[in-house]
Structures are given as C-alpha cells and as structure tokens.
C-alpha cells in the first residue's frame, strides 16, 4: 500500500465555494454556466440506476430538455431498491415548533456522521431538505397528515426533534413511485429513453472524459455501446459485498467499481452502516435479511434479560419474554444513553446490541444466539389509554386498552408488523419482536466534488453511490433526502456548467471510437472467461464465503489482526473464484442469472479487499468504523482528529492490483461547527 501523492492528487479538488456557509450554495449557483433551452436537446446524458437519485435526476434533466438515456437492471424503474425504504425522509421544516432549523439538521447530520463528512455538502443538503417535501407533495405523495390536514412528522435516531415526514412504513415506495411517475411522463414525451433489464459493464473514457458506457442487455445477452456527453452513476450502495444484507438481491457495486477501475477515486470504502433493527438470521438457507424500520424505535423499547439464566431459558423457549418483569429487563440503551434512549444513532445502537449478545444475553434461538427484544407493550398501553380518554370511556379494563392501543399501532406501523409476522410466524402485537443488526447502507462510495462530479470529468455520481454527506455514519431518514436532493435539485444546477462546453460542438461521439471498441472487447473477454473456465463451484458459494469473511473481520468490530487476515483471505478466495467458479449455459443463450451474479461477485471480491485496506489504515474509531484498539473505557468510539480528520481517497492505477492502490487524503475542515467528542449519553 502506498501513501504517495501522485500527479493525480491535483484531481482531488473538492471545489468547495468560499464564503459563509449560509451563502455558499446560493453564491456558487450564480457562478455556474448555463445551457440555453434550445441547445439542450442536442445533449445526451446517460443515467445508470433509477432509484431515488437516478430517477429524480432523469426526471429533472429531461424536463429541462436534455436527452436522457436511463438504465436499470430491473424490469421497470419502479422496482429500484429505494422502494424498500420504510421510515421516512428528513426535512428541517420546523412544523412541530420544536426549534428545528436548517442549522440543527446540518449539525445533527455532521455529528451523526462523527465529523467525517464535508461541511459544505451537508449544509446544502440541509438547506434543500424542505423543498424536497414541497416537491413531493406537489407530485402527489400521500404523506401522513394530522386531523387538521397538515403534514405529520415523527422522530428518528440521533436527533431531538421531530422532522421525519412519512407515509406509514412505505415512505421509500411512495417517493420512488412519484419519481417513476415523473419519469413516465418524460418517457411518454420521448425525452427519456428507458433501457430496462440492462446492466452497465464498463465506463468509456475518451481523452480523459466520460463519454459513454458498455451495457449488457440482460434478456438477449447482447453487449451494447451507448455514447453521451455525460454519464451519471446512481447505482446505489455496495452492502451486498456482505452477501447477507437488507439490500435487494440484485443490488451490486459493478457500476461504481468499473468507474473506479477507469480512474474514478473511491472514498471511505470501509464506512458501512450496520442497521440495529433487522430480523435475526434464521438458518444457512437464508438469502437476505429484512429490515424493521428505525421508526419503530419511536415506540419500541429495546431490551435483553438482566439475568443470564433468563436469557438461556428464553433461547430454549421455555420462558416467554412476557413473563419477565420490568425489573429483570435490561433496557440497555435507556441505561447507557439516557438523553437519547432508544433513539440513539444506528451505529451506537448496533454496537450496544452486539455488546450485550457477546456477554451472553442474546435471546435468539439460533446458532449465534444473537438477538435482542424490541418491545411495544408500553407504547400499546399508553396509546390505548390516551384513546380511551379521548373517546371518553370511563370504565375500562386492560384488555380494552390494549385493543385500542393495538389499533393505533396498526395505523402507524401496520405493514411492518404484518411483514414481521409473515417471516417469523410470531405476532409482534402480543410478543416483542426479536431483532439484530444487519448490513444496510454504505456511506463510502465514489469520490465526488461539490458539483457531484467524480475524479473523471463528465462522470457524475449521486445518491448512495457517492460518499460526501453522511461521514462515518448516516442518520435515519437521510438517505431518501440525499438521493432526491442530488437528483432533483443539485445536479440539474451543476451539470450544465460542465455540459456548456459541448454547446458549440454538440456532435455525438461515434460508438465506433477505439475506446468503445477496447471496452467492449474487455467486457466480452471477461464474460468468455466465465464460460471457458472448467470450474465446478457455483457463484453463490463464493459470495457466501466472501460475506462471512467480511462480516467476521470487517464487520461491526474490527482490529489490526482481523483486518490483515481478511485481506489475505479475500485474495485467496478471489484466486479460487477465478479458477473454480462455474457458470452454466452458453454465451449465446442470453438471459443468464448465474452469469450476472458471477460478474457482480467478481467485483465484490475486489471491493472487499479495498474495504479491509481502508479499515486497516484508519487507526481510530469513528461512527460505524469501530476499531477495538481505539475505544474509551466505556467502550465508546475514540476518534483521532489530529491524524484522521480526512477522507481516505483511493486511486487504482490501470493494470495494477488492489493492494497497490494509492491513498490520497482530503482533509476535512470544520469552520462552522465545533468538532467535539460525539456523545449521546
């Protein structure tokens, strides 16, 4: 691993505008070049991925008049995994009058990210947040309303205000469908050309700028060339490197990894969010983990038994959680973090759950015994009592109250409770949910400047695929906010500044250019390699194996020994993969899921190594990145602001291996918040 500064270091200009934080974005916008409406239709833009960021970018850019080509691997843009986001979307509207403000949201996000995100980007996000809600309302998103007809909010982790707007437990679905509607309108006009069931397999860079992609038609198997004036990557995160995660089965890192291979810098790859409330692992047949929304922590209390023997009996299923009295329950989040209680940020809640389970208090009846309770009984009772008072029932008994309370819970979280019951066969209204942390989101991603452009000119990266806003830990309900901010409101302002160079000469680049030729040959050769390989082992075997290495050594708790081991193990596994992987079928067959998976796993096997390398070099604990060597006496993260207050930015040189990647540092300057130790106690 080298820590040199190559000539490419110059590309690491974050382009953060000067001036006070409040004026940065406003002033900067006025300096950006424009493209006049009659010139826009001569310009083509490729968007890879149609989730919240990609979908919103497609809609906004095509409305402005650009020609957009959109790609997604699903059969329709409506299925992108943003659809699965449950809890809500943050905005600093201060509708509740609880002293929320742009600054407060900005501060919470910076602190939540443990001072490892970019101040200017976060402030801009916070400024835009309110506009997103208005926009979505205008598009017909049925957000929750109160009885007066105004927008309702709830609380999420890491904040002391109520600023999360929601549509039951399906906020992501509603926001995505409204994006999809906006896209549909433009597809109808012919301004967006939609390529469903297509996967990007390479970025084409000509004379140093991004000019197109190579994509595979997943149905026919054809390899296609697509040229454009700019390429936007909105392909989401890389949590599936862990095999088991809350991501969709098809979520993958291939698009961002191809950009990285072509010279795009990769920032903070080791920052992975482990979400505290997911349904625990049941068995080795399991293909994915299911999230239970963070919003449940508004009303659910997390606990494990105080006594080891109770935990044992619960695991054996000879004692029921309901039979344990309050005094014998350890509400460990309320105990350790009284001021935030059950609403501490995700990284903190996850580590606390792991700490209890490592000590033997886990309650799940599975191999690992890992699991804690998320209990709604007090909330059900409280809401039941309120309702009974409200409708004026004088004489009521506990059963009536519980019935009333359960109805209220149903109206708030009905779909989540239903989902839980279908998976576990247990009724969460009657018995506490069992939950445990699982891989959910990746804060790291391709490096971008203030314009959201990667280190390759003309290649923009938005949404979860970039790195800039969430630092070392993302707060709940901020992913939707960032995705839509990037796509609806930031990119449409910054990208014309770049595209204006093509106004005078908008001639399309020919797809017969030698760089297209070269890229296509590379893509085809790699596919061919899978078929001529005489291996005998299915792709899933390698993916599961990689997942278990990542979870064990690069997961919630890391140290020098584990990480060094991980790097070696991943390298071995990668060699083994290329020797022994078996992909059934023939090249000319077309649709072939195993081939798609093989390509994605091959990329994960490289990215995994970089994640471990990044975690190894960061000799501090911050946010989601917990190095056992660097912790306080109470087991909290111990940051090192003197030596590690930077973004680690990795550069891969052509034809060199992962272990030879060069790390650059983008120093983080905090001039508008005081860098403090991050406490939720």
């Amino acid at each position: 691993m080298f820590y040199l500064m190559s000539h490419n270091y110059l590309k690491l200009n974050s382009k953060i505008p000067q001036g006070s934080i409040k004026d940065k974005w406003e002033n900067y916008k006025s300096t950006l070049k424009l493209v006049s409406p009659n010139n826009r239709s001569n310009i083509e833009i490729i968007v890879v991925g149609t989730g919240l960021s990609g979908g919103s970018a497609c809609a906004s850019l095509s409305e402005l008049g650009y020609n957009v080509k959109a790609f997604c691997y699903q059969d329709s843009p409506r299925r992108a995994h943003s659809v699965a986001a449950q809890g809500g979307i943050n905005a600093s509207k201060n509708y509740k009058g609880d002293n929320d403000s742009v600054y407060q949201l900005f501060y919470d996000t910076i602190k939540g990210g443990d001072y490892r995100s970019r101040e200017a980007n976060v402030y801009r996000l916070s400024e835009i947040s309110s506009n997103i809600i208005d926009q979505c309302v205008a598009q017909g998103v049925p957000f929750a309303r109160d009885y007066a007809g105004y927008l309702e909010t709830r609380s999420f982790g890491g904040t002391k205000v109520s600023r999360t707007f929601y549509a039951k437990g399906q906020t992501g679905q509603q926001l995505l469908l409204s994006c999809y509607s906006a896209m549909s309108r433009q597809i109808g006009k012919g301004r967006i050309k939609m390529y469903n069931r297509h996967e990007m397999l390479d970025l084409v860079v000509i004379e140093g700028v991004a000019r197109g992609i190579i994509a595979r038609n997943l149905i026919s198997g054809e390899i296609e060339r697509h040229a454009a004036h700019a390429v936007i990557i909105a392909s989401g995160g890389y949590g599936n490197v862990f095999f088991l995660s809350t991501n969709a089965m098809g979520s993958n890192a291939s698009a961002i990894w191809k950009v990285h291979n072509k010279g795009g810098f990769f920032a903070n790859p080791c920052f992975t969010q482990i979400h505290p409330t997911c349904i625990p692992l049941q068995g080795d047949y399991q293909s994915k983990l299911t999230l239970m929304s963070e919003s449940l922590r508004n009303d659910g209390r997390i606990w494990v038994p105080k006594k080891l023997e109770d935990a044992f009996l619960i695991r054996k299923e000879t004692k029921k959680p309901e039979e344990i009295n309050d005094e014998d329950r350890d509400f460990y989040l309320e105990r350790r973090y009284p001021s935030f209680g059950n609403l501490v940020p995700r990284d903190v809640a996850s580590r606390a759950a792991k700490e209890r389970c490592d000590k033997g208090f886990g309650i799940e009846n599975n191999e690992t015994k890992e699991g804690v309770f998320l209990d709604f009984s007090s909330a059900i009772y409280k809401y039941g009592q309120e309702k009974a008072n409200e409708i004026g029932i004088k004489k009521y008994n506990d059963i009536d109250i519980v019935n009333l309370g359960e109805k209220i819970m149903e109206s708030k979280y009905g779909n989540l409770f239903h989902m839980y019951e279908k998976i576990t066969n247990k009724n969460p209204y009657k018995t506490p949910m069992k939950i445990y942390p699982a891989v959910h989101y990746t804060m790291g991603g391709l490096w971008v400047d203030y314009n959201l452009m990667s280190s390759i000119p003309g290649c923009y990266v938005i949404g979860e695929a970039n790195f800039s806003d969430h630092g070392a830990n993302r707060l709940g309900a901020s992913a939707l906010m960032q995705g839509l901010a990037d796509g609806y409101f930031i990119l449409p302002y910054t990208i014309p500044d770049y595209l204006s160079r093509y106004v005078k000469d908008p001639k399309k680049i020919s797809i017969t250019h030698e760089e297209f030729e070269k890229s296509e040959i590379n893509v085809k050769n790699r596919i061919k390699k899978f078929f001529v390989n005489k291996g005998k082992i299915p792709v899933d075997f390698f993916h599961k194996k990689l997942g278990s290495i990542m979870w064990e050594y690069v997961g919630m708790s890391r140290n020098h020994v584990k990480l060094s081991k991980a790097i070696k193990k991943i390298q071995e596994l990668r060699n083994n993969f290329w020797e022994n992987v078996f992909v059934p079928g023939k090249i000319e067959d077309g649709l072939n899921y195993e081939l798609e998976k093989a390509g994605r796993v091959a990329d994960f096997l490289e990215l995994g190594e970089l994640m471990a390398m990044d975690a190894l070099q960061r000799k501090e604990s911050c946010g989601s990145h917990f190095r056992e060597e660097y912790q306080t006496e109470e087991g909290e993260t111990l940051r090192d602001d003197v030596n590690y207050k930077y973004v680690s930015v990795w550069e891969k040189e052509e034809n060199k291996s992962i272990s030879d990647e060069i790390m650059h540092k983008e120093n983080l300057n905090f001039t508008f918040v005081k860098v403090q130790s991050r406490s939720y106690k």
Binding site: S56, A59, E63, L64, Q74, D75, S76, R78, R79, H81, V83, A84, I133, D134, Q135, V137, A138, Q139, G140, P142, A144, R145, D146, Y147, A148, G149, Y150, A167, K168, Q170, Q173, Y180, S181, S184, R185, I187, G188, M194, N196, A248, G250, Y285, Q286, S287, K288, N415, M419, K422, I423, N425, Y488, P492, P538, D540, F582, P584, G585, L591, Y593, E594
Partner: protein
Amino acid sequence: MGKLLSLKLKIWRQRNNKEKGFFKTYHVNNISPNSSFLETLDFLNNQIICNEIKKESSPIAFDHDCREGICGMCSLYINGRPHGPDNLITTCQLHMRNFRDGETIYVEPWRAKPFPIIKDLIVDRSSFDRIMISGGYISVNTSGNPIDGNMIPISKDIADKAFDASICIGCGACVVACKNRSAMLFVSAKVSQFSLLPQGKIERKRRVLNMVNKMDEEGFGSCTNTKACEAECPKGISTEYISFMNKEYIRSFTI
C-alpha cells in the same frame, strides 16, 4: 424449528417466447419450514447447477429482487394461485411452513396475453409501464419551486384513502387472478390516488381517459366484478377503487 420438508416441484420450463413450454419435475429434500419459497428455488437451482456439470440442464429463471414484498418483481402461480397459498403476501414472503411434507407443488409463470413469457417463469410486464406512461402522473415539473406542502391541507381521511390506493406494487397479481385478465385494480389504484388528492384533481379527466384507453389497447380484459383481484392482491387493495374509477371515467365525459 419444525420438521424438514421433502417436496416434489413441478416447474414450468420454457426456453423463450417462441418455443413450447412444459412441466418438469424436481425433488428437493431437507427444506426448512422457515425458509421462503424463493429460497427453496435457490436451493433447487444450486442442485441443478451442481448436477449440470454432468448433464444438460439449466437453472430455473425467475424474477425477484427486494425479497421483502415491496418491489413487485417476483410473481409465480403456485398451485394455481398468484403469489401462492397465503394471503396479503408476495411470493418472496411465502414461507415453506405453508406446505406439508411430501406435497407436490406446481409452479407456473403468470399467464396473460399482455404479460408474454420471456423465459421459464419470467414474464414481460412492460404493458404496466406503458399504462403509467399514458397518464399515471401529476404534470408538475420536478426541478421547480412548488408551494409549501402545508399550503395544501388534506384531510386525514382523504390522505389515508389515497395512501391505501397508492401502495400498489405493480406485480400484476390482480391481472392473473382475474378470469378476464383485467387490469382494473392496477389502473384504478393509480387513478384513485391522484383523483382523491387536490394536487391531482386538476387533470383527473384526462388521466382516467388516457389510462383506461391504454389499458384496453394493451389487451387487458374488462371487469365483471368477481373481486378475484382483491382476494389475491398482496397489498389488499380494495375493489372500491374500481367503482371509484368507473365514476371518474363517466365523469370525464361531462363538462
């Protein structure tokens, strides 16, 4: 954990849209009742791939993605029912505890003219996209500066009703449950969501006309009120919205 299951699966295989399909029989053993139906197909595919090294056969192609019942990508008739023998779920949420040991399970792709088969169990549902393109939106620009969200108060009942329509995942179960292969539940859910909300009322006439016309053009059948769609809808969307859409449709011819 319950007893492990042994099952006989009769699965529809079809190489592409032109060749004829057929049922092929497979056996799987040691299936955990807590695993999901798609995990059982994963297991079977793994078995097929491992055997394939010896003989000619390919894994079963089926659509799936989020595996938590929200993306709408998974489909399948399982023993003749869209999304299988349980209510209010998608196939990815169907768990093997719904089957008995030794049972024979029939797995087929969705069968409807507007959903042509691509391969094995995968169908093409882009007809739904085309219906959306014909009018499933509010014509507001997304890069604009709309008015404050609270400037449009919406009563809780209306907001909730619009929400209950909006949760459609576009899987197509309503179509394949219907003997007429009608898409009325799908279309009415979108039409109702927007017509109920003040933001969407402005273009309600145009929207319902365009979407209904497109639905007919795509070859979906008519509604004869059997309510099979509601019974099989994984999100439990009510046929009330079909009545609502019919009213909207008639209204669109008045001034």
